[in-house]
């Protein structure tokens, strides 16, 4: 995928919708090609070039991605899980069950 000139968005501004959409499309395309053992690993992708890094260690994936990409074009996912962290709320919704004494 050829790199094209892109506006740099401030880290404090939300990504333009088209960049988000491109990133999500890239995520799906990349993950479809990865082997099952990569589930849960960290994926850092460049939505302007399509380049990506996968590693079980998030810092390692990020460091490698920074060698070829601008921070403003990078998004980190977890393979299969998508979200890297959860901010507030339950990770696995707990099922309620009846108990008796």
């Amino acid at each position: 995928m050829k790199s094209k000139p892109m506006i740099i968005t401030s880290p404090f501004d939300p990504l333009p919708a088209e960049d988000e959409a491109r990133a999500e499309q890239l995520y799906e395309a990349i993950v479809a090609q990865l082997p099952p053992q990569d589930y849960g690993k960290y994926l850092v992708l460049d939505f302007s070039t399509g380049r990506y890094e996968v590693d079980a260690d998030d810092i390692a994936a990020s460091e490698r991605a920074h060698r070829h990409s601008k921070p403003e074009h990078l998004i980190m996912y977890r393979v299969g899980v998508r979200d890297v962290v959860r901010l507030g709320g339950a990770v696995n919704p707990r099922r309620m069950r009846e108990v008796s004494f």
């Binding site: 921070p71 980190m76 962290v85 901010l87 709320g89």
Partner: protein
């Protein structure tokens, strides 16, 4: 050990120290949130004051189950006389301490107005320290 208290709004708040990129020491009142699986969030003003470097965005799941791309910076936490780098997410909600930063520690909250909030390192080997 870090010590704080339960606020009148039922929040477990502790003071957290951070080192700016130009070497100054700052302190922020941070919420301890066991529903946050990451390290630390800070507000934009805090990130600007510390001069933190932007690394990348991350996909984050929020409490209402929406996902959002949040910006990640590298910050330096000053904790028990040690200084170490941590990932810091930019959040409009300000300073929030998550489970990754608490790893290796015990969290104690006396859940009354003004009750103690204590974060202390676990014993390396053997049983937990008893109180």
């Amino acid at each position: 050990m870090i010590s704080g208290e339960v606020s009148a709004f039922d929040e477990a708040i502790v003071p957290l120290r951070l080192r700016s990129t130009d070497g100054r020491l700052f302190e922020v009142e941070a919420l301890v949130d066991t529903g946050f699986t990451g390290w630390l969030t800070l507000g934009r003003d805090g990130i600007d004051a510390l001069g933190l470097q932007f690394r990348e965005r991350q996909r984050v799941r929020l409490g209402d189950d929406r996902s959002k791309k949040m910006s990640l910076f590298t910050g330096i936490v000053v904790w028990d006389e040690q200084e170490f780098a941590v990932p810091v997410l930019a959040s409009e909600q300000g300073a929030i301490i998550g489970m990754r930063l608490l790893r290796g520690h015990r969290l104690f909250v006396d859940v009354v107005d003004g009750g103690e909030v204590l974060i202390e390192r676990r014993a390396q080997d053997g049983p937990l320290l008893s109180r």
